[in-house]
Structure formats: C-alpha cells, structure tokens
C-alpha cells in the first residue's frame, strides 16, 4: 500500500512539475507585476471602482451565463437524442455537430459575420422578407451567437459520452414504474447527466469569459474584459493594469467554477 502511494506520486509528478514551472510561477510573477504600476496595488480594485472596467466585467459575465444556459439546453437535447437513437445518418449528424470543435475563436467570429454580418445570410433574408436588413454580428448578440456556436460541439461530445455510460436499465426501471417520458428525463436522465452538465457547463462558462478571438474578429468596440485587457496591454502598454485585470478576471472565473462544483457536489451527496 505504501509502495503504491509512492508510485502514484511518481505518476503525478510530471504534470505537477510542468504545472508549477509554467503556470504557478508565472502567475505569481504576474500578480506582483499587477501591483507594480503607477497606482500600485490599487490596480486590483480598479475592476470594481472604475466604472468602465466594472461595466465590462458585468457584460462579460452576462454573455458567459447566457451562453452556458443556451448551450447546455441545446446540447443536452441533441446529445442524448443522438446517443439514444441510432438511425441512418446519425453518424453524419454527429460529425457535423462536432465539426466546429476545431474552429478557433477567430474563425467563429468569421462564421458569425457570414450569418449576421453586413453581407450575411440573415441580413439578406430579412431584407427580402421585411425590407429591413438585420445585422447584429458586431454587437453583444453577435458575440453570444458566436460563443454558443463555439460551445455546442464540445458540450455535445461530453453529453454523449456521459449518456453512453447511463445505464439504460435505470430508465427502463423508471418506465416500468409508470413514469412518463418527461418524468424519466427529470428523474433519471438529467440526474445521471448532471456531473457531465456541470463539468461541461463550467468549461463553457470559463471559455466564454476568457476567449477573445471572436470578439477580436467581430469588433474592437465590444466591451468585454478580454478586449479591455488586450487594449491595455498593446495599445496603452499598461502591462501592470493588464496583469491586474486578467488576474482578477481569472480569480472571478475560478471562484464561480468552484462554487458551481461545490453546489453540485453537495446536492449529489444529498440525493445519494
């Protein structure tokens, strides 16, 4: 047993060393640089005290929350459906739904432009129908659309993997007890997929908060924190402020994730 512990530590060590050298150490340095600017450590409070930073924080969290909710609903329905029903063309559908997995944020931005941009499909269709051209790619709605587009493929993969592990016998048992399809979804499928939902949702949220490729492509004017940080770093050459902002943003995201996980954990414990 003691021998085994040593082996387990050995297996964990490579990842641990890499992580300490290339993440923990640099982050610590970033933290100190964040406090080394003109305003000193007050830079860390700026995200709350400075109205401009604070409003971008709010809109960042808002768009991430909306993205997560929409993505989980969409991927939950389609993922379970595709895992449960094997029909001709199922494979092709899965392949198409997971295709954008490889798309960088910048490409997603371009896809949004293709749909909702000045020369986009939605604009053309709405112009033909109503005479008015609907263009929203370069706004927060465009960003939301892009993030949902971005998150669906990986969330569907996670949901499908979890749905595969779901014991179909549980469902059959519930149905044999007279549960309607909706009750089966509520009482068996959703609880069974909950861990997958939570982990996929958490990643979804974090990605939406931290990504900046899509916003970068859509417009410099979209007021989300990553864009603000980038502007501080490159245009204003204010490395300290950029460091402080990104550090705070990282902490916020991480806290949200931790809280989500704890809440899920305790409810799981209560159920079982």
């Amino acid at each position: 047993m003691r021998h085994e512990s040593r082996r387990l530590i050995l297996l964990l060590l490579p990842a641990g060393i890499f992580f300490a050298a290339f993440f923990l150490l640099p982050m610590a340095r970033l933290f100190f640089i964040g406090g080394s600017g003109k305003t000193g450590w007050a830079a860390y409070a700026a995200i709350l005290t400075d109205a401009h930073y604070f409003s971008s924080l709010l809109s960042t969290l808002g768009v991430a929350t909306a993205t997560t909710a929409a993505t989980l609903a969409i991927s939950g329905i389609s993922g379970v459906f595709l895992q449960r029903h094997k029909f001709p063309g199922n494979g092709a559908l899965v392949a198409m739904l997971t295709l954008p997995l490889a798309f960088p944020g910048v490409v997603i931005g371009f896809m949004v432009i293709m749909l909702a941009g000045r020369m986009g499909l939605i604009g053309q269709v709405t112009q033909a129908l109503t005479g008015e051209k609907l263009v929203f790619a370069y706004t927060m709605s465009g960003l939301f659309m892009g993030y949902v587009y971005f998150s669906i493929p990986r969330t569907i993969l996670t949901v499908m993997a979890a749905a595969e592990k779901l014991d179909p016998r549980l469902e059959e048992a519930a149905r044999s007890l007279g549960a309607s399809p909706w009750r089966v979804v509520l009482d068996v499928i959703i609880p069974g997929l909950k861990p997958a939902f939570i982990s996929a949702g958490a990643i979804c949220f974090a990605t939406a908060v931290g990504a900046f490729g899509t916003a970068f492509t859509l417009a410099a004017k979209i007021n989300v924190l990553p864009m603000v940080i980038y502007t501080e770093f490159t245009l204003s050459a204010n490395i300290a402020m950029a460091a402080a902002l990104s550090f705070v943003l990282g902490i916020v995201t991480w806290l949200v994730l931790a809280v989500a996980r704890t809440a899920a954990g305790s409810s799981v414990a209560a159920a079982g």
């Binding site: 964990l12 559908l93 490889a102 490409v107 020369m119 940080i229 931790a258």
Partner: protein, 268 residues
C-alpha cells in the same frame, strides 16, 4: 404514436442546430471560391484566392500541425497518469491538484500568455522558438485530457477491476498497462480529439506568444480577416477546413464508441 412524434421533434431540433453550425461554413466555402462574393456566385468560380493564401501562409499551416501533435504527445504523457492518480485517490491533495490543473482554462488565455511572457520572455532562444507556444498550448489543453480520461475512469469500477487483475498476479505496472489504459481508451481518444483540435485553433494565448517567425494558422487567419478582402479570408478559412477535416474524421472514427450493446441485445 406518441414516441414517434417525440422522435421527430428531437430530430427536427437537432437538424436546426446542425444547420446553425454548418450553413455559415458552406457560405464561407462558397465565398472563398467565388470571384466576387458581393456580386454572388454569378461572378464565377475561381481558385485564385486559395492559391494566394497557400503561397502566402503555407508555413503557418505546417507549424500548426506540428504544434498540435507535439501538444498531444506531451498531454498524453502528463495527463493520462495524472488522471489515473486523481481517479484513484480522492484526498484533499488530489482534489486541490485537480482544481489547480483546470485553472489555465478558467484564467483567460491572455493572462496566461502575459504571465509566461513576463517570466520567460527574456530567455530569447526559448521566446522565439515554437516551444514557447507549445508550453502555452499544453497548459491550456492538459485539463481537457485529464478530465476526459478522469470522467471515464470514474464511471467504471476501476478499484474492483484492478483488484481482479491483482488477484490474478498482475502488479502495478501490468495493471496500468492491461486494465487501466485499455479501459480508459475512449476517454483518451476523446481527450486527444480535444487536445489536437484545441491546439490547432488556439488563438487567445497564441496571439501574444507568437513571434513573426512562429505564426500559427489562427494567427494568420486573424491577419487575413483584419487586412484582406472577404474572399481571401474565406479562402484561408477554406484551407483551414480542408486541413482539419481529415484529421477530425480520423479522430472521430477512432473515438466512436463500440456498438457492443446492440450485439448484446441481439444475442439475448
């Protein structure tokens, strides 16, 4: 029949989602091949834009392929053993470790890149090599590998399977090789799919980590979107699609779960 209606409803919904994802891809492919997208398909088809992109941005393509494969190798070596340990030992320490490993996903890529630059940016040989970008990519993709493997390992009764193997005389390493690795294969494949594709497309960090000599494909794309006409951007995107498609299909074929359940149903 009620079930049939439900089936069709779900199918319809899934098809709409599919259209949302695929239609812009098709539009952009068309744009990359038309002489003038503003005029429309009537202006004629051409490979001019694609050739222009190939000549101008070839290097970014090769660099991205190499980077993502290197990233895969590193995350496999670091991530799979780590996931195994995390699955096996649920202590405060391993939980903290799991929490920490996910941080590079939680922390915006910009911040990670910034941190790497302020810490290692002065090592000029390292800063200008593709190894610098690789480090960032591994940080970002490692949690995906770990979580994907961990998810599979937590779903199977690893402890009893290992005890079964041990009772047959298998020591630690044989168990790891014969029982643990094969049984988390689906997780490893899903994780690999994630890692390669994420690395291919990583932009948030790479945009800051790259140098003029180490431009990856997404960096080139951003360049093209910002400075060149829509048709060139589309053509570049088309090249990206062409490049990623075989890889994606291959990985999907590998990652496809075995249809074992259906065989079982037939034979019972």
């Amino acid at each position: 029949m009620k079930h049939r209606g439900l089936f069709l409803l779900q199918l319809g919904f899934t098809l709409v989602v599919c259209a949302f994802l695929i239609v812009p891809v098709i539009l952009s492919i068309m744009a990359g091949l038309t002489v003038n997208y503003f005029v429309g398909i009537e202006s004629g088809l051409t490979l001019r834009w694609v050739i222009e992109v190939w000549n101008g941005y070839r290097d970014t393509i090769f660099l991205s392929i190499g980077l993502s494969l290197a990233c895969l190798v590193v995350t496999l070596i670091l991530g799979v053993p780590a996931a195994y340990v995390l699955a096996k030992r649920q202590t405060a320490l391993t939980r903290a470790m799991e929490e920490l490993l996910v941080m590079p996903v939680a922390v915006p890529g910009l911040a990670t890149a910034l941190a790497l630059i302020v810490t290692y940016g002065s090592l000029s040989g390292f800063r200008t090599s593709w190894g610098f970008i690789l480090v960032g990519h591994v940080l970002f993709t490692l949690p995906f590998m770990v979580r994907s493997v961990l998810a599979v390992l937590s779903a199977i009764d690893l402890k009893t399977l290992e005890e079964g193997a041990a009772s047959l005389g298998a020591g630690f390493w044989p168990r790891f090789r014969d029982i643990v690795l094969p049984n988390c294969r689906s997780g490893i494949l899903a994780g690999s799919l994630m890692v390669v594709t994420l690395s291919m497309g990583e932009f948030n960090m790479t945009w800051l980590l790259h140098t003029p000599f180490t431009k990856t494909l997404p960096v080139g794309l951003a360049d093209a979107y910002a400075s060149l006409r829509l048709e060139v951007g589309s053509a570049y995107t088309l090249v990206f699609f062409l490049m990623i498609m075989p890889l994606l299909l291959a990985l999907q074929a590998f990652a496809k779960p075995r249809p074992a359940k259906f065989v079982a149903e037939e034979t019972e």
